[in-house]
Amino acid sequence: MKLFIEQSEQYTEAEITIKCGMIDGRLESIISYIRLNMFSVSGVKDGETRVISLGDIFYFESIDDKTFIYLESDVYECSMKLYELEEQLEKANFVRISKSCIVNIMKLDSVRPMLNSRYEAKLENGEKLIISRHYLPAFKSKFGI
């Protein structure tokens, strides 16, 4: 694989082009990483707005018609609806795990089965989320299972 980087004052916005015959596992993980880092969402906390990189987000949760962004130890409110985020993040490392939650699979530590065909997902910061059985097939397919 070759990597070309052209740096010049004439470019106002960074552009990434990948030329390939077919997308293999290695390339797929590079593309996922780029996707994860090139998009960002705005979050509001205590009246202040911050642009948050997807790579820092642990999960999104919808509570009482409001969407919240959960970072390692911070929570921000987001103006987007959960279904809008789901559509936009479909090809990134995010997957819907319940009616109210979309998780960043890169922040997962482990999963374990619970009774009643549900799973518990443990995140890197120790938080635990429930993967409901309705969303389990989509969750598994994100890992190629």
């Binding site: 999963v111 009774l115 969750f139 890992f143 190629g144």
Partner: protein, 140 residues
């Protein structure tokens, strides 16, 4: 994909419950001169009917785990007593027999739940392996 999983689950429940029930049946009624061919088919029919009943009530969206277990249990007992005992005449409705059947069903139900949990544990291990691979890939 979802349907394939459901059908596979239905078969797993039927086969594991049938195996457990057959073993218990042989253990408890093995010397009671009941034709084994007839008993085998009746027991299989009841196990299959029970799986279908659980499969259908599974579509009811219930979040509570104890309530889900209670519904599954009701499915099992209603199917066995109404279909097995009533329609197929599998056993007489005598207190002693009812208690034995109750015990057999409880053991079979716990056994099937254990089989399902083991299957889910295998899936969880696969996912955890992929998570760990993904993290190593990112570190490399």
């Amino acid at each position: 994909m979802e349907w394939k999983k459901k059908i596979s689950q239905l078969l797993t429940v039927t086969c594991s419950s049938f195996t457990i029930i057959m073993l218990l049946y042989a253990l408890l009624f093995g010397d009671e001169n009941i034709p084994i061919n007839q008993a085998t088919f009746i027991l299989f029919a009841v196990c299959a009917m029970t799986s279908v009943a659980i499969f259908l009530t599974d579509f009811i969206p219930i979040k509570s785990v104890p309530l889900r277990f209670a519904i599954d249990f009701i499915d099992v007992f209603l199917t066995v007593f109404l279909f097995g005992g009533g329609v197929l005449g599998m056993f007489p409705f005598k207190l002693r027999i009812i208690l034995i059947v109750f015990g057999m069903l409880t053991v079979a139900y716990v056994g099937v739940v254990a089989v399902m949990l083991i299957t889910e544990q295998i899936i969880a291990e696969d996912i955890n392996k992929k998570i760990s691979e993904m993290k190593h890939k990112n570190i490399d």
